[in-house]
Amino acid sequence: MLELRNISKRFDDFSLKEVSFSVEQGDYFILLGESGAGKSMVLETIAGLVAPDSGKILIEDKDVTYEKIQNRPIGLVFQDHAVFPHLTVGENIAYSLHGKKMSREEKHEIVKTIADELEIPGLLNRKPGTLSGGELQRVALGRTLIQQPACLLLDEPLSSLDTRLKGDLRRLLREIHRKGQTILHVTHDYEEALSLATRIAVIDKGEIIQSGTPSAVFNHPKSEFVAHFIGMKNFFPVKLVTTDQTVVAYTGNNIPIRVVTDAPGGDGFILIRGEDVLLSVKPVETSATNNFRGTVVEIHPNAGGVEVTIDAGIEIHALITRESVEKLGLKAGNTCWVHFKATAVRYINK
Protein backbone atom coordinates (compact mmCIF):
# COMPACT_ATOMS: atom_id res chain seq x y z
CA MET A 1 0.00 0.00 0.00
CA LEU A 2 2.73 2.46 1.02
CA GLU A 3 6.32 1.51 0.45
CA LEU A 4 9.55 3.44 0.94
CA ARG A 5 12.58 2.04 -0.86
CA ASN A 6 16.02 3.29 0.18
CA ILE A 7 14.95 6.89 0.69
CA SER A 8 17.98 9.10 1.33
CA LYS A 9 18.12 12.81 1.85
CA ARG A 10 21.06 14.92 2.99
CA PHE A 11 20.76 18.18 4.88
CA ASP A 12 23.53 20.26 6.39
CA ASP A 13 23.27 18.75 9.84
CA PHE A 14 21.07 15.73 9.32
CA SER A 15 20.32 13.02 6.82
CA LEU A 16 17.91 10.20 6.12
CA LYS A 17 19.86 7.06 5.29
CA GLU A 18 18.35 4.43 3.03
CA VAL A 19 15.02 4.46 4.81
CA SER A 20 12.91 1.47 3.74
CA PHE A 21 9.69 0.12 5.16
CA SER A 22 6.27 -0.79 3.94
CA VAL A 23 2.85 -0.18 5.37
CA GLU A 24 0.25 -2.75 4.41
CA GLN A 25 -3.43 -2.10 3.78
CA GLY A 26 -5.19 -1.81 7.14
CA ASP A 27 -2.00 -1.41 9.17
CA TYR A 28 -1.67 0.97 12.05
CA PHE A 29 2.03 1.53 11.52
CA ILE A 30 3.96 3.50 14.12
CA LEU A 31 7.35 5.01 13.44
CA LEU A 32 8.97 5.34 16.83
CA GLY A 33 11.98 7.54 17.49
CA GLU A 34 13.37 10.33 19.62
CA SER A 35 12.84 13.92 18.57
CA GLY A 36 15.30 14.78 15.83
CA ALA A 37 15.49 11.17 14.64
CA GLY A 38 13.99 12.11 11.28
CA LYS A 39 10.41 10.98 11.80
CA SER A 40 8.73 14.14 10.58
CA MET A 41 11.16 14.26 7.67
CA VAL A 42 9.97 10.82 6.58
CA LEU A 43 6.36 11.99 6.62
CA GLU A 44 7.16 15.18 4.72
CA THR A 45 8.99 13.12 2.11
CA ILE A 46 5.97 10.85 1.67
CA ALA A 47 3.70 13.89 1.41
CA GLY A 48 6.01 15.44 -1.17
CA LEU A 49 6.92 18.51 0.88
CA VAL A 50 10.55 17.37 0.75
CA ALA A 51 12.05 15.69 -2.31
CA PRO A 52 14.41 12.79 -1.54
CA ASP A 53 17.92 12.69 -3.07
CA SER A 54 17.46 9.05 -3.97
CA GLY A 55 15.08 6.17 -3.42
CA LYS A 56 11.48 5.52 -4.31
CA ILE A 57 8.09 6.06 -2.73
CA LEU A 58 5.24 3.83 -3.89
CA ILE A 59 1.63 4.32 -2.92
CA GLU A 60 -0.76 1.62 -4.05
CA ASP A 61 1.99 0.30 -6.34
CA LYS A 62 2.30 3.64 -8.11
CA ASP A 63 5.63 5.48 -8.05
CA VAL A 64 4.88 8.90 -6.53
CA THR A 65 8.46 9.91 -5.67
CA TYR A 66 8.26 13.00 -7.87
CA GLU A 67 4.48 13.36 -8.01
CA LYS A 68 3.01 16.80 -7.21
CA ILE A 69 2.01 17.21 -3.57
CA GLN A 70 -1.64 17.82 -4.39
CA ASN A 71 -1.89 14.62 -6.46
CA ARG A 72 -0.67 12.19 -3.80
CA PRO A 73 -3.38 10.01 -2.27
CA ILE A 74 -2.32 10.68 1.30
CA GLY A 75 -3.52 12.93 4.08
CA LEU A 76 -1.03 14.56 6.47
CA VAL A 77 -1.99 15.83 9.91
CA PHE A 78 0.67 18.21 11.15
CA GLN A 79 2.03 18.12 14.67
CA ASP A 80 0.59 21.54 15.51
CA HIS A 81 -2.50 20.73 13.38
CA ALA A 82 -2.01 23.73 11.01
CA VAL A 83 -5.71 24.53 10.94
CA PHE A 84 -6.35 27.62 8.80
CA PRO A 85 -7.02 30.44 11.27
CA HIS A 86 -9.05 32.64 8.92
CA LEU A 87 -11.57 29.95 7.97
CA THR A 88 -14.33 28.46 10.08
CA VAL A 89 -14.14 24.85 11.22
CA GLY A 90 -16.63 23.91 8.50
CA GLU A 91 -14.62 25.71 5.83
CA ASN A 92 -11.44 24.03 7.07
CA ILE A 93 -13.01 20.59 6.83
CA ALA A 94 -14.49 21.35 3.41
CA TYR A 95 -11.24 22.81 2.05
CA SER A 96 -10.32 19.79 -0.08
CA LEU A 97 -13.83 19.48 -1.54
CA HIS A 98 -13.17 22.51 -3.74
CA GLY A 99 -13.60 21.68 -7.43
CA LYS A 100 -15.27 18.34 -6.68
CA LYS A 101 -18.35 17.74 -8.77
CA MET A 102 -21.04 17.85 -6.12
CA SER A 103 -23.72 20.25 -5.01
CA ARG A 104 -23.44 22.60 -2.06
CA GLU A 105 -25.89 20.40 -0.15
CA GLU A 106 -23.87 17.25 -0.81
CA LYS A 107 -20.70 18.96 0.42
CA HIS A 108 -22.50 20.18 3.49
CA GLU A 109 -23.76 16.67 4.15
CA ILE A 110 -20.24 15.18 3.93
CA VAL A 111 -18.80 17.83 6.22
CA LYS A 112 -21.56 17.14 8.72
CA THR A 113 -20.93 13.38 8.63
CA ILE A 114 -17.22 13.87 9.24
CA ALA A 115 -17.88 16.36 12.05
CA ASP A 116 -20.23 13.86 13.70
CA GLU A 117 -17.63 11.10 13.42
CA LEU A 118 -15.05 13.32 15.08
CA GLU A 119 -17.54 14.44 17.71
CA ILE A 120 -17.30 18.13 16.78
CA PRO A 121 -20.71 18.78 15.14
CA GLY A 122 -21.31 21.90 17.20
CA LEU A 123 -18.13 23.63 16.12
CA LEU A 124 -18.70 24.00 12.38
CA ASN A 125 -19.33 27.75 12.46
CA ARG A 126 -16.59 28.56 14.96
CA LYS A 127 -13.23 30.14 14.12
CA PRO A 128 -10.17 28.06 15.14
CA GLY A 129 -8.94 30.82 17.48
CA THR A 130 -11.70 29.89 19.92
CA LEU A 131 -10.96 26.12 20.04
CA SER A 132 -8.96 23.99 22.47
CA GLY A 133 -5.96 21.89 21.45
CA GLY A 134 -7.99 18.69 21.35
CA GLU A 135 -10.70 20.28 19.22
CA LEU A 136 -8.13 21.70 16.80
CA GLN A 137 -6.57 18.25 16.44
CA ARG A 138 -9.99 16.82 15.55
CA VAL A 139 -10.58 19.56 12.99
CA ALA A 140 -7.20 18.76 11.42
CA LEU A 141 -8.10 15.06 11.37
CA GLY A 142 -11.50 15.73 9.85
CA ARG A 143 -10.06 18.02 7.21
CA THR A 144 -7.69 15.23 6.20
CA LEU A 145 -10.10 12.28 6.46
CA ILE A 146 -12.64 13.96 4.19
CA GLN A 147 -10.20 13.36 1.31
CA GLN A 148 -10.45 9.62 1.99
CA PRO A 149 -6.68 9.22 1.82
CA ALA A 150 -5.21 5.83 0.95
CA CYS A 151 -2.89 6.36 3.90
CA LEU A 152 -3.33 8.77 6.79
CA LEU A 153 -0.04 10.29 7.99
CA LEU A 154 -0.02 11.55 11.58
CA ASP A 155 2.85 13.62 12.96
CA GLU A 156 2.90 13.33 16.76
CA PRO A 157 -0.85 13.86 16.93
CA LEU A 158 -1.09 13.44 20.70
CA SER A 159 2.01 15.26 21.86
CA SER A 160 0.40 18.62 22.55
CA LEU A 161 -2.55 17.24 24.50
CA ASP A 162 -3.00 16.61 28.21
CA THR A 163 -3.46 13.08 29.53
CA ARG A 164 -7.26 13.01 29.48
CA LEU A 165 -7.52 14.37 25.94
CA LYS A 166 -4.81 11.96 24.86
CA GLY A 167 -6.99 9.06 25.97
CA ASP A 168 -9.99 10.45 24.07
CA LEU A 169 -8.05 11.00 20.89
CA ARG A 170 -6.40 7.57 21.09
CA ARG A 171 -9.82 6.03 21.27
CA LEU A 172 -10.86 8.07 18.24
CA LEU A 173 -7.77 7.03 16.26
CA ARG A 174 -8.38 3.39 17.11
CA GLU A 175 -11.95 3.82 15.89
CA ILE A 176 -10.79 5.39 12.61
CA HIS A 177 -8.35 2.52 12.14
CA ARG A 178 -11.01 -0.07 12.95
CA LYS A 179 -13.14 1.31 10.12
CA GLY A 180 -10.36 0.28 7.74
CA GLN A 181 -8.18 3.38 7.49
CA THR A 182 -4.49 2.63 6.93
CA ILE A 183 -2.43 4.85 9.24
CA LEU A 184 1.23 5.80 9.51
CA HIS A 185 1.79 7.58 12.79
CA VAL A 186 5.09 8.94 14.09
CA THR A 187 5.76 9.43 17.78
CA HIS A 188 8.47 9.41 20.44
CA ASP A 189 6.13 7.81 22.95
CA TYR A 190 6.40 4.00 23.26
CA GLU A 191 3.14 3.91 25.20
CA GLU A 192 1.38 5.41 22.24
CA ALA A 193 3.06 2.83 20.03
CA LEU A 194 1.98 -0.08 22.21
CA SER A 195 -1.48 1.24 22.63
CA LEU A 196 -2.21 1.76 18.94
CA ALA A 197 0.22 0.01 16.62
CA THR A 198 -0.24 -3.17 14.69
CA ARG A 199 3.31 -2.75 13.41
CA ILE A 200 6.25 -0.68 14.62
CA ALA A 201 9.49 0.61 13.15
CA VAL A 202 12.16 2.26 15.27
CA ILE A 203 14.14 5.10 13.70
CA ASP A 204 17.31 6.72 15.00
CA LYS A 205 19.56 9.33 13.39
CA GLY A 206 17.74 8.99 10.09
CA GLU A 207 18.01 5.19 9.95
CA ILE A 208 15.41 2.48 10.47
CA ILE A 209 16.86 0.21 13.15
CA GLN A 210 14.15 -2.37 13.58
CA SER A 211 10.63 -3.05 12.46
CA GLY A 212 8.01 -5.67 13.20
CA THR A 213 5.02 -6.30 15.42
CA PRO A 214 5.02 -4.50 18.79
CA SER A 215 5.71 -7.79 20.59
CA ALA A 216 8.63 -8.63 18.32
CA VAL A 217 10.23 -5.22 18.71
CA PHE A 218 9.65 -4.87 22.44
CA ASN A 219 10.54 -8.46 23.37
CA HIS A 220 13.52 -8.79 21.13
CA PRO A 221 15.10 -5.39 20.70
CA LYS A 222 17.67 -5.84 17.99
CA SER A 223 20.16 -3.28 19.21
CA GLU A 224 21.28 -1.51 22.33
CA PHE A 225 19.57 1.62 21.09
CA VAL A 226 16.21 -0.02 20.64
CA ALA A 227 16.44 -1.71 24.03
CA HIS A 228 17.50 1.49 25.68
CA PHE A 229 14.99 3.61 23.86
CA ILE A 230 12.16 1.31 24.66
CA GLY A 231 13.70 1.02 28.08
CA MET A 232 11.56 -1.93 29.05
CA LYS A 233 12.63 -5.50 28.78
CA ASN A 234 9.84 -6.74 31.00
CA PHE A 235 7.07 -6.37 28.52
CA PHE A 236 4.15 -8.79 28.29
CA PRO A 237 0.89 -8.88 26.36
CA VAL A 238 -1.82 -9.59 28.91
CA LYS A 239 -5.53 -9.96 29.43
CA LEU A 240 -6.76 -7.75 32.25
CA VAL A 241 -9.43 -9.11 34.56
CA THR A 242 -10.91 -6.80 37.17
CA THR A 243 -13.06 -7.87 40.09
CA ASP A 244 -14.32 -5.83 43.02
CA GLN A 245 -11.21 -6.45 45.07
CA THR A 246 -8.42 -7.12 42.63
CA VAL A 247 -7.07 -6.27 39.24
CA VAL A 248 -5.12 -9.11 37.71
CA ALA A 249 -3.32 -9.26 34.39
CA TYR A 250 -2.94 -12.74 32.94
CA THR A 251 0.03 -13.32 30.65
CA GLY A 252 -0.15 -15.58 27.63
CA ASN A 253 0.61 -18.67 29.74
CA ASN A 254 -1.84 -17.62 32.45
CA ILE A 255 0.60 -16.30 35.03
CA PRO A 256 -1.41 -13.87 37.19
CA ILE A 257 0.17 -10.49 37.83
CA ARG A 258 -1.42 -7.98 40.18
CA VAL A 259 -1.60 -4.45 38.81
CA VAL A 260 -3.05 -1.13 39.84
CA THR A 261 -5.05 0.58 37.11
CA ASP A 262 -8.38 2.26 36.46
CA ALA A 263 -8.58 0.67 33.03
CA PRO A 264 -11.49 -1.65 32.31
CA GLY A 265 -10.77 -5.31 31.64
CA GLY A 266 -9.51 -6.37 28.22
CA ASP A 267 -6.36 -6.78 26.18
CA GLY A 268 -3.28 -4.75 26.89
CA PHE A 269 0.37 -4.80 27.82
CA ILE A 270 2.24 -4.59 31.07
CA LEU A 271 5.68 -3.13 31.60
CA ILE A 272 7.93 -3.52 34.63
CA ARG A 273 11.18 -1.63 34.99
CA GLY A 274 14.17 -3.87 35.70
CA GLU A 275 15.11 -1.55 38.57
CA ASP A 276 11.78 -2.30 40.29
CA VAL A 277 12.31 -6.05 40.46
CA LEU A 278 13.72 -7.44 43.76
CA LEU A 279 15.46 -10.80 44.02
CA SER A 280 15.91 -13.12 47.01
CA VAL A 281 17.14 -16.67 47.45
CA LYS A 282 14.47 -17.58 50.03
CA PRO A 283 10.76 -16.69 50.12
CA VAL A 284 10.48 -13.48 52.17
CA GLU A 285 7.52 -11.46 53.40
CA THR A 286 7.48 -8.00 51.73
CA SER A 287 4.84 -5.49 50.73
CA ALA A 288 5.15 -6.70 47.15
CA THR A 289 2.05 -8.53 45.93
CA ASN A 290 3.77 -10.20 42.99
CA ASN A 291 6.08 -12.98 44.20
CA PHE A 292 7.29 -15.77 41.92
CA ARG A 293 9.69 -18.66 42.22
CA GLY A 294 11.98 -19.13 39.25
CA THR A 295 15.34 -20.19 37.89
CA VAL A 296 18.22 -17.86 37.00
CA VAL A 297 18.72 -18.14 33.24
CA GLU A 298 21.40 -15.59 32.60
CA ILE A 299 23.55 -13.03 34.42
CA HIS A 300 24.67 -10.27 32.18
CA PRO A 301 26.61 -7.15 33.23
CA ASN A 302 25.50 -3.95 31.52
CA ALA A 303 25.95 -0.20 31.87
CA GLY A 304 23.48 0.21 34.74
CA GLY A 305 24.62 -2.78 36.84
CA VAL A 306 23.94 -6.45 36.30
CA GLU A 307 20.94 -7.76 34.46
CA VAL A 308 19.66 -11.04 35.82
CA THR A 309 17.16 -13.01 33.75
CA ILE A 310 14.85 -15.33 35.67
CA ASP A 311 12.46 -17.86 34.22
CA ALA A 312 9.36 -17.83 36.39
CA GLY A 313 6.94 -19.03 33.78
CA ILE A 314 7.59 -15.71 32.12
CA GLU A 315 11.08 -14.32 31.60
CA ILE A 316 11.67 -11.50 34.03
CA HIS A 317 14.70 -9.22 33.86
CA ALA A 318 15.96 -7.66 37.08
CA LEU A 319 18.54 -4.91 37.21
CA ILE A 320 20.64 -5.19 40.39
CA THR A 321 24.13 -4.28 41.56
CA ARG A 322 27.23 -6.45 41.32
CA GLU A 323 27.43 -6.52 45.14
CA SER A 324 23.91 -7.95 45.36
CA VAL A 325 24.75 -10.68 42.85
CA GLU A 326 27.75 -11.65 45.01
CA LYS A 327 25.86 -11.36 48.30
CA LEU A 328 23.07 -13.64 47.08
CA GLY A 329 25.54 -15.92 45.33
CA LEU A 330 23.43 -15.90 42.15
CA LYS A 331 24.47 -18.28 39.39
CA ALA A 332 22.77 -19.51 36.26
CA GLY A 333 20.59 -22.49 37.15
CA ASN A 334 20.01 -21.38 40.78
CA THR A 335 16.53 -21.14 42.16
CA CYS A 336 15.53 -17.65 43.24
CA TRP A 337 12.50 -15.56 44.17
CA VAL A 338 11.28 -12.56 42.22
CA HIS A 339 9.28 -9.77 43.89
CA PHE A 340 7.70 -6.63 42.54
CA LYS A 341 4.89 -4.38 43.73
CA ALA A 342 1.58 -4.10 41.91
CA THR A 343 2.21 -0.33 41.75
CA ALA A 344 5.47 -0.95 39.87
CA VAL A 345 3.57 -2.58 37.01
CA ARG A 346 2.57 -0.23 34.24
CA TYR A 347 -0.53 -1.30 32.35
CA ILE A 348 -1.25 -0.01 28.83
CA ASN A 349 -4.67 -0.46 27.40
CA LYS A 350 -4.94 -1.78 23.86
Binding site: A47, G48, L49, I69, Q70, N71, R72, I74, G75, L76, F78, D80, A82, F84, P85, H86, Y95, S96, H98, K127, G129, R143, T144, Q147
Partner: protein, 288 residues
Protein backbone atom coordinates in the same frame (compact mmCIF):
# COMPACT_ATOMS: atom_id res chain seq x y z
CA UNK B 1 30.98 60.88 36.63
CA UNK B 2 27.73 59.85 38.34
CA UNK B 3 25.64 59.96 35.18
CA UNK B 4 24.84 57.73 33.40
CA UNK B 5 26.73 55.31 35.64
CA UNK B 6 24.83 54.20 38.71
CA UNK B 7 26.67 54.98 41.93
CA UNK B 8 26.39 53.12 45.20
CA UNK B 9 24.36 55.95 46.68
CA UNK B 10 21.60 56.24 44.11
CA UNK B 11 21.93 53.07 42.13
CA UNK B 12 21.99 49.40 42.94
CA UNK B 13 24.78 48.00 45.03
CA UNK B 14 27.75 46.53 43.22
CA UNK B 15 26.76 43.09 44.35
CA UNK B 16 23.40 43.11 42.62
CA UNK B 17 24.28 45.06 39.56
CA UNK B 18 23.22 43.22 36.46
CA UNK B 19 21.87 40.23 38.31
CA UNK B 20 18.46 41.09 36.96
CA UNK B 21 16.59 39.85 39.99
CA UNK B 22 17.24 42.47 42.61
CA UNK B 23 18.13 45.20 40.21
CA UNK B 24 16.12 48.28 41.12
CA UNK B 25 15.67 50.83 38.41
CA UNK B 26 18.05 53.64 39.35
CA UNK B 27 16.78 57.20 39.40
CA UNK B 28 19.24 58.09 36.65
CA UNK B 29 17.04 56.30 34.17
CA UNK B 30 14.16 58.57 35.08
CA UNK B 31 16.34 61.56 34.40
CA UNK B 32 17.22 59.95 31.10
CA UNK B 33 13.56 59.48 30.32
CA UNK B 34 12.84 63.11 31.14
CA UNK B 35 15.59 64.23 28.78
CA UNK B 36 14.23 62.02 26.02
CA UNK B 37 10.66 63.17 26.57
CA UNK B 38 11.87 66.78 26.25
CA UNK B 39 13.76 66.03 23.03
CA UNK B 40 10.81 64.06 21.67
CA UNK B 41 8.45 66.95 22.35
CA UNK B 42 10.68 69.20 20.26
CA UNK B 43 10.28 66.83 17.33
CA UNK B 44 6.50 66.72 17.75
CA UNK B 45 6.45 70.50 17.97
CA UNK B 46 8.42 70.72 14.74
CA UNK B 47 5.69 68.72 13.01
CA UNK B 48 2.63 70.14 14.70
CA UNK B 49 3.53 73.84 15.03
CA UNK B 50 3.73 74.78 11.31
CA UNK B 51 0.56 72.82 10.53
CA UNK B 52 -1.32 74.33 13.45
CA UNK B 53 -0.07 77.78 12.45
CA UNK B 54 -1.34 77.32 8.94
CA UNK B 55 -4.75 76.12 10.15
CA UNK B 56 -5.07 79.04 12.58
CA UNK B 57 -4.08 81.55 9.89
CA UNK B 58 -6.88 80.37 7.63
CA UNK B 59 -10.38 81.66 8.32
CA UNK B 60 -13.41 79.44 7.82
CA UNK B 61 -14.63 81.83 5.12
CA UNK B 62 -11.38 81.45 3.18
CA UNK B 63 -11.63 77.67 3.51
CA UNK B 64 -15.19 77.62 2.32
CA UNK B 65 -14.46 79.90 -0.64
CA UNK B 66 -11.43 77.86 -1.66
CA UNK B 67 -13.28 74.56 -1.36
CA UNK B 68 -15.90 75.88 -3.75
CA UNK B 69 -13.39 76.73 -6.49
CA UNK B 70 -13.70 74.34 -9.43
CA UNK B 71 -9.95 74.40 -10.03
CA UNK B 72 -9.32 73.26 -6.46
CA UNK B 73 -11.99 70.59 -6.54
CA UNK B 74 -10.71 69.26 -9.85
CA UNK B 75 -7.13 69.09 -8.69
CA UNK B 76 -8.00 67.26 -5.45
CA UNK B 77 -10.22 64.82 -7.28
CA UNK B 78 -7.46 64.26 -9.86
CA UNK B 79 -4.92 63.66 -7.08
CA UNK B 80 -7.16 61.10 -5.40
CA UNK B 81 -8.05 59.11 -8.47
CA UNK B 82 -4.62 59.08 -10.11
CA UNK B 83 -3.03 57.87 -6.88
CA UNK B 84 -5.77 55.29 -6.38
CA UNK B 85 -5.47 54.06 -9.96
CA UNK B 86 -1.67 53.88 -9.74
CA UNK B 87 -1.89 51.97 -6.47
CA UNK B 88 -4.46 49.45 -7.69
CA UNK B 89 -2.91 48.83 -11.12
CA UNK B 90 0.63 48.40 -9.86
CA UNK B 91 -0.44 46.27 -6.89
CA UNK B 92 -1.44 43.51 -9.32
CA UNK B 93 2.25 42.96 -10.06
CA UNK B 94 3.71 44.26 -6.78
CA UNK B 95 1.89 41.81 -4.49
CA UNK B 96 3.16 38.69 -6.33
CA UNK B 97 6.66 40.17 -6.28
CA UNK B 98 6.36 40.67 -2.53
CA UNK B 99 5.33 37.01 -2.21
CA UNK B 100 8.41 35.87 -4.15
CA UNK B 101 10.64 38.03 -1.97
CA UNK B 102 9.12 36.60 1.19
CA UNK B 103 9.12 32.94 0.17
CA UNK B 104 11.83 32.19 -2.38
CA UNK B 105 15.57 32.33 -2.45
CA UNK B 106 16.94 33.34 -5.82
CA UNK B 107 20.18 34.71 -7.24
CA UNK B 108 20.71 38.43 -6.70
CA UNK B 109 17.77 38.68 -4.29
CA UNK B 110 19.64 41.37 -2.34
CA UNK B 111 20.04 43.38 -5.52
CA UNK B 112 16.30 43.12 -6.21
CA UNK B 113 15.52 44.24 -2.65
CA UNK B 114 17.88 47.19 -3.12
CA UNK B 115 16.27 48.16 -6.42
CA UNK B 116 12.85 48.18 -4.78
CA UNK B 117 14.07 50.66 -2.18
CA UNK B 118 15.67 52.93 -4.79
CA UNK B 119 12.63 55.24 -5.24
CA UNK B 120 12.78 56.06 -1.54
CA UNK B 121 16.36 57.30 -1.65
CA UNK B 122 16.67 59.14 -4.97
CA UNK B 123 15.51 62.76 -5.22
CA UNK B 124 12.01 62.74 -6.62
CA UNK B 125 12.66 65.48 -9.14
CA UNK B 126 15.42 63.24 -10.49
CA UNK B 127 12.96 60.38 -10.54
CA UNK B 128 10.61 62.62 -12.52
CA UNK B 129 13.33 63.42 -15.07
CA UNK B 130 14.10 59.71 -15.44
CA UNK B 131 10.41 58.91 -15.85
CA UNK B 132 9.92 61.68 -18.37
CA UNK B 133 12.51 60.05 -20.63
CA UNK B 134 10.82 56.71 -20.07
CA UNK B 135 7.28 57.82 -20.98
CA UNK B 136 7.99 60.58 -23.54
CA UNK B 137 6.77 60.16 -27.11
CA UNK B 138 10.19 59.01 -28.28
CA UNK B 139 10.42 56.13 -25.78
CA UNK B 140 9.16 52.60 -26.39
CA UNK B 141 6.37 53.03 -23.85
CA UNK B 142 5.54 56.46 -25.30
CA UNK B 143 5.30 55.02 -28.81
CA UNK B 144 3.09 52.24 -27.57
CA UNK B 145 0.89 54.86 -25.90
CA UNK B 146 0.81 57.03 -29.04
CA UNK B 147 -0.34 54.03 -31.08
CA UNK B 148 -3.54 53.94 -29.00
CA UNK B 149 -3.77 57.73 -28.85
CA UNK B 150 -2.36 58.10 -25.33
CA UNK B 151 0.34 60.61 -24.47
CA UNK B 152 1.63 59.96 -20.97
CA UNK B 153 3.26 63.36 -20.63
CA UNK B 154 0.73 65.79 -19.24
CA UNK B 155 -1.84 62.99 -18.89
CA UNK B 156 -3.38 61.46 -15.73
CA UNK B 157 -1.82 58.12 -16.77
CA UNK B 158 1.62 59.71 -16.61
CA UNK B 159 0.79 61.19 -13.21
CA UNK B 160 -0.32 57.77 -11.94
CA UNK B 161 2.96 56.21 -13.15
CA UNK B 162 5.01 58.92 -11.44
CA UNK B 163 3.05 58.49 -8.20
CA UNK B 164 3.41 54.70 -8.32
CA UNK B 165 7.12 54.95 -9.02
CA UNK B 166 7.83 56.81 -5.78
CA UNK B 167 5.32 55.01 -3.60
CA UNK B 168 5.51 51.36 -4.63
CA UNK B 169 8.27 50.39 -2.13
CA UNK B 170 5.78 50.99 0.70
CA UNK B 171 3.39 48.39 -0.67
CA UNK B 172 6.04 45.82 -1.59
CA UNK B 173 7.78 46.00 1.77
CA UNK B 174 4.57 45.82 3.78
CA UNK B 175 3.21 42.93 1.70
CA UNK B 176 6.53 41.07 1.92
CA UNK B 177 6.44 41.31 5.73
CA UNK B 178 2.86 40.10 5.62
CA UNK B 179 3.66 37.05 3.51
CA UNK B 180 6.74 36.27 5.60
CA UNK B 181 4.46 36.17 8.64
CA UNK B 182 2.21 33.47 7.16
CA UNK B 183 3.37 30.13 8.59
CA UNK B 184 4.82 28.00 5.81
CA UNK B 185 3.08 24.98 7.35
CA UNK B 186 -0.32 26.40 6.52
CA UNK B 187 0.63 26.60 2.85
CA UNK B 188 2.06 23.08 2.99
CA UNK B 189 -1.09 21.82 4.69
CA UNK B 190 -3.21 23.36 1.94
CA UNK B 191 -1.07 21.63 -0.70
CA UNK B 192 -1.48 18.27 1.01
CA UNK B 193 -5.24 18.93 0.98
CA UNK B 194 -5.09 18.86 -2.79
CA UNK B 195 -5.00 22.59 -3.50
CA UNK B 196 -2.99 23.88 -6.46
CA UNK B 197 -0.28 26.46 -5.69
CA UNK B 198 -2.57 29.14 -7.18
CA UNK B 199 -5.40 28.17 -4.90
CA UNK B 200 -3.04 28.10 -1.91
CA UNK B 201 -1.95 31.64 -2.74
CA UNK B 202 -5.46 33.00 -3.10
CA UNK B 203 -7.13 31.14 -0.23
CA UNK B 204 -4.34 30.94 2.35
CA UNK B 205 -1.36 33.25 1.79
CA UNK B 206 -3.23 36.30 0.51
CA UNK B 207 -6.00 36.38 3.15
CA UNK B 208 -3.53 35.79 5.96
CA UNK B 209 -1.20 38.55 4.76
CA UNK B 210 -4.16 40.82 4.04
CA UNK B 211 -3.69 43.06 7.07
CA UNK B 212 -0.18 44.03 5.97
CA UNK B 213 -1.18 44.30 2.33
CA UNK B 214 -4.06 46.67 3.11
CA UNK B 215 -1.77 48.73 5.28
CA UNK B 216 0.76 48.80 2.41
CA UNK B 217 -1.93 49.80 -0.09
CA UNK B 218 -3.07 52.66 2.14
CA UNK B 219 0.53 53.82 2.61
CA UNK B 220 1.22 53.65 -1.10
CA UNK B 221 -1.98 55.53 -1.87
CA UNK B 222 -1.15 58.21 0.72
CA UNK B 223 2.43 58.57 -0.45
CA UNK B 224 1.25 58.83 -4.06
CA UNK B 225 -1.22 61.57 -3.20
CA UNK B 226 1.43 63.65 -1.49
CA UNK B 227 3.96 63.32 -4.34
CA UNK B 228 5.09 66.55 -5.93
CA UNK B 229 8.61 66.34 -7.33
CA UNK B 230 8.22 63.46 -9.76
CA UNK B 231 4.75 64.49 -10.88
CA UNK B 232 5.55 68.13 -11.68
CA UNK B 233 8.25 67.04 -14.11
CA UNK B 234 6.02 64.52 -15.89
CA UNK B 235 2.80 66.59 -15.81
CA UNK B 236 2.49 70.22 -14.77
CA UNK B 237 -0.97 70.12 -16.27
CA UNK B 238 -3.50 68.75 -15.44
CA UNK B 239 -2.67 69.98 -11.97
CA UNK B 240 -2.71 67.69 -8.96
CA UNK B 241 -3.25 69.39 -5.60
CA UNK B 242 0.44 69.59 -4.56
CA UNK B 243 1.27 71.26 -7.90
CA UNK B 244 -1.68 73.64 -7.54
CA UNK B 245 -0.47 74.64 -4.08
CA UNK B 246 3.00 75.29 -5.51
CA UNK B 247 1.56 77.30 -8.40
CA UNK B 248 -0.59 79.49 -6.13
CA UNK B 249 2.42 80.12 -3.94
CA UNK B 250 4.61 81.05 -6.93
CA UNK B 251 2.01 83.27 -8.60
CA UNK B 252 0.12 84.82 -5.68
CA UNK B 253 2.13 84.20 -2.52
CA UNK B 254 1.78 82.47 0.82
CA UNK B 255 -1.65 83.89 1.63
CA UNK B 256 -3.23 82.24 -1.41
CA UNK B 257 -1.38 78.94 -1.12
CA UNK B 258 -2.50 78.38 2.49
CA UNK B 259 -6.24 77.73 2.12
CA UNK B 260 -5.66 75.20 -0.69
CA UNK B 261 -3.10 73.43 1.47
CA UNK B 262 -5.49 73.28 4.41
CA UNK B 263 -8.36 71.96 2.29
CA UNK B 264 -6.11 69.29 0.75
CA UNK B 265 -4.70 68.23 4.11
CA UNK B 266 -8.17 68.00 5.65
CA UNK B 267 -9.46 65.86 2.82
CA UNK B 268 -6.39 63.59 2.85
CA UNK B 269 -6.59 63.12 6.62
CA UNK B 270 -10.30 62.29 6.52
CA UNK B 271 -9.70 59.83 3.72
CA UNK B 272 -6.94 57.97 5.57
CA UNK B 273 -8.73 57.88 8.87
CA UNK B 274 -11.74 56.35 7.13
CA UNK B 275 -9.57 53.87 5.19
CA UNK B 276 -7.68 52.80 8.32
CA UNK B 277 -10.93 52.37 10.18
CA UNK B 278 -12.42 50.28 7.38
CA UNK B 279 -9.27 48.15 7.20
CA UNK B 280 -9.40 47.56 10.94
CA UNK B 281 -13.05 46.49 10.81
CA UNK B 282 -12.32 44.08 7.99
CA UNK B 283 -9.28 42.61 9.72
CA UNK B 284 -10.92 41.97 13.02
CA UNK B 285 -13.52 40.05 11.03
CA UNK B 286 -10.82 37.87 9.44
CA UNK B 287 -9.06 37.03 12.67
CA UNK B 288 -12.08 36.23 14.84
Amino acid sequence: MSWPFPTNRTGPSRRFRGSGLNYKEPQNVNRLQLTFIFLGSLVLLLIVAPLAGMFLDTTPTQLFETARETEVQDSIWLTIYTSLAGTLVFSIAAIPLAYLLARKQFPMKKLVTGIIDLPVVIPHSAAGIALLGFVSRESVLGKMGSAVGLNFVGHPAGIAIAMAFVSIPFLINAARDGFAGVPLRLEKAALTLGASPFRVFFTISLPLAWRNIISGLILMFARGMSEFGAVIVVAYHPMIAPVLIYERFGSFGLKYARPVSVVFILISLTLFIVLRWLAKEKNSEIVK
